[in-house]
């Protein structure tokens, strides 16, 4: 009897470990698999039992429900108030288009056998017998763009590294995932770490690199532990190391843990941090693809960018690019967060509207109060009002609407939100996290927070609003990286889309 109880840290945060312990106590002979999360985080802890015709789900299960689940004979699919039917038929999940997240929540994250039987290593085996050019052509052809925020085409970056001669090259995976409202990197690493490992090996083969580094934030202790274990399993099975899978290729990888710095998610600050230094942003050029880690050609990609590559190589570039709209091809792993009734992972082709995401999937607010705002794309992303909910979720449409996709996080706020306070927080966050290199970012952010404070207090409101817009312009124009450069985005979008909150006084 197989029972699936997620070991994902979001599930653990609402009691999955206690649920697992209680079930193990009552059914000592049951085989409990600590899978990743299916992504329907509002249903955690989602307990699934294997039945002859698929998995049967119960949720959200709290430790207190376990006794009644046994009374209802849930191990044999018995009726219960938390019975959800077959997991594959839960519409919230079945209506998604899982590509990057195809295996997350399905498999045992640390079982290589499970991984193999769900399509794992197909891409690696293909890559091992292909030319570097073919791999890079596929990645380019798929239209895959960076999922870390900037949306740069992955294939072009890979080509640059491949064509730069060097005795040493690196594959750096950006798993700093600093954006509030995002958790897809974490869930992929906790739920399907071999996909990231496989992707990094493929990247290594493609550009001629034998060393990979994953820069993983310290705030993710569960992901760090899982990835380190998975790397050990991969080494034992000769997926990593010298002459991998009896070929002439060698590749190994390690995890470097961050130290609580948002700006270290910026790629060059990340390189500095991996080199053990202060996370100060580097000026470009030189591009990291030419002079990156320790001065060597380096691929830097987000977890999701990399983790999509095995699917592209296995199923073909054309299958991937058949999805999406315009120049935003494939799927995006959207993350629904904040004050939302049904939060979690929604992987869909680009082009879904904000409304569909927030209402059809999200089910509106958690509090039940009126939905007032969403912030899309992390702390540097724009605040939108419900008037903009027809906007298509793709790179270009969001820019046209005055925002950005970022890492694909959507944070929902109800009517209790005060956008002037949110704008002030954006400035304070910038002041806290600025690397200090540029004056507009380092000092401007502090002055910005003070100025918004004055507006909130009702002090010379119009004059201070003018000053604030002026400051935003200086920050946008005078900052080296997007930390200072884009902090004005949440501030200005809040002012434009929620003018009532900037009239002085507390809402």
């Amino acid at each position: 009897m197989r029972v699936f109880i997620p070991g994902d840290s979001a599930a653990i945060s609402v009691g999955a470990d206690a649920v697992a312990a209680a079930i193990a106590l009552r059914a000592p002979s049951a085989e409990i698999v600590r899978n990743g999360s299916r992504g329907a985080l509002w249903l955690e802890t989602l307990v699934e039992v294997q039945s002859p015709d698929g998995r049967i789900a119960y949720g959200p299960v709290s430790p207190d429900d376990v006794t009644s689940l046994f009374d209802a004979d849930f191990l044999n699919g018995g009726a219960h108030a938390l019975f959800l039917g077959k997991t594959d038929e839960i519409q919230w999940l079945s209506s998604q288009d899982r590509v990057t997240f195809a295996r997350v929540g399905i498999i045992d994250p640390l079982s290589l056998d499970d991984y193999r039987s769900h399509g794992g290593l197909v891409a690696l085996n293909k890559a091992l017998t292909s030319t570097s050019d073919w791999i890079i052509d596929e990645v380019t052809e798929s239209g895959l763009r960076g999922r870390g925020g900037a949306g740069f085409p992955a294939g072009i970056k890979w080509r640059t590294v491949a064509q730069t001669p060097s005795d040493q090259k690196y594959i750096c995976c950006n798993a700093d995932e600093g954006d509030s409202g995002t958790f897809a990197d974490r869930m992929l690493i906790e739920g399907d770490p071999f996909t990231l490992i496989e992707a990094m090996i493929i990247a290594g083969i493609a550009v001629g690199a034998n060393t990979g580094i994953v820069y993983l934030r310290s705030e993710y202790p569960y992901a760090i532990a899982t990835l380190r274990k998975a790397i050990e399993v991969a080494r034992k099975n000769n997926l990593l190391g010298s002459k991998i899978l009896a070929t002439s290729h060698s590749f190994d990888m390690t995890v470097r843990v961050g130290a609580g710095s948002y700006v270290c998610g910026e790629e060059t600050a990340m390189l500095e941090s991996i080199e053990g230094k202060r996370g100060v942003v580097r000026a470009k050029p030189p591009l990291p693809a030419i002079e990156g880690l320790f001065g060597k050609p380096t691929i830097i990609n987000n977890v999701l960018t990399l983790a999509t590559v095995p699917m592209i190589i296995a199923d073909g570039a054309s299958a991937y690019k058949a999805r999406g709209v315009g120049r935003s091809l494939g799927t995006q792993v959207f993350q629904l967060a904040g004050n939302v009734a049904r939060g979690g992972i929604v992987e869909k082709a680009f082009g879904i509207t904000v409304n569909e995401l927030v209402h059809t999937y999200g089910g509106g607010t958690l509090s039940g109060r009126t939905l007032r705002a969403v912030q899309i794309g992390g702390p540097l992303g724009a605040y939108f009002s419900t008037a903009q909910f027809d906007t298509s979720m793709d790179y270009e449409s969001l820019i046209a609407a005055g925002g950005m996709l970022g890492h694909g996080g959507v944070v929902v706020f109800d009517e209790s939100v005060d956008l002037a306070q949110q704008a002030k927080f954006a400035m304070e966050f910038c002041a806290l996290e600025s690397c200090g290199k540029c004056t507009p970012c380092r000092i401007g952010s502090t002055r910005g927070a003070e100025t918004i404070g004055l507006i909130i207090q009702g002090v010379e409101v119009e004059e201070n609003k003018r000053l604030l817009l002026d400051l935003c312009e200086v920050m946008s124009d005078g900052s080296l990286c997007a930390m200072g450069g884009l902090t004005p985005m949440p501030v200005k979008s809040a002012m434009i889309n929620f003018p009532d909150d900037f009239k002085g006084g507390v809402r």
């Binding site: 840290s9 600093g178 995002t182 710095s261 967060a337 944070v411």
Partner: protein, 141 residues
């Protein structure tokens, strides 16, 4: 959480484990904190000497990163997420309550990747979602 008392000898043994690492300074500081609970100021010179770099360099790294601290931690460590997605579900109020109740033990956190089940708090390294004062008290025991 359990840490061992700081000593120079123990520090040197730990540093030896990083001898082959490239760019070891941040790792060295993180290792000090993991083992001793904080980075003793005396370790700045030790790390600088061990890895043949300057004290200024080590000091610079130590002061850049929010995670690193130079004073011993409290018995319990509560890190509460104050980032946007948790603000949307009441973190601004919760943080006031937690600070009033647990004072020094409380630190601001910026996202634990649990943004669909906030407010999120880490209590002695254990993640708590849909956090309330009661849940935090329970986990702190």
């Amino acid at each position: 959480m359990k840490y061992r008392p700081w000593s120079q000898d123990a520090a040197l043994v730990l540093l030896a484990s990083l001898r082959d690492e490239m760019g070891p300074v941040l790792m060295a500081l993180q290792l000090m904190q993991k083992e001793f609970g904080y980075v003793d100021k005396a370790s700045i010179e030790i790390i600088a000497n061990f890895f043949n770099t300057s004290r200024a360099e080590v000091h610079g790294v130590l002061t850049f990163y929010h995670d690193l601290r130079t004073t011993a931690p409290t018995t319990h460590e509560i890190s509460i997420c104050v980032a946007e997605a948790c603000q949307a579900v009441g973190a601004r109020v919760l943080v006031q309550e937690v600070k009033a109740k647990f004072g020094d033990e409380t630190h601001d956190g910026y996202c634990f990747g649990n943004c669909a089940l906030g407010p999120t708090v880490m209590v002695n390294g254990e993640i708590i979602g849909r956090a309330t004062l009661e849940k935090i008290e329970q986990a702190r025991r």
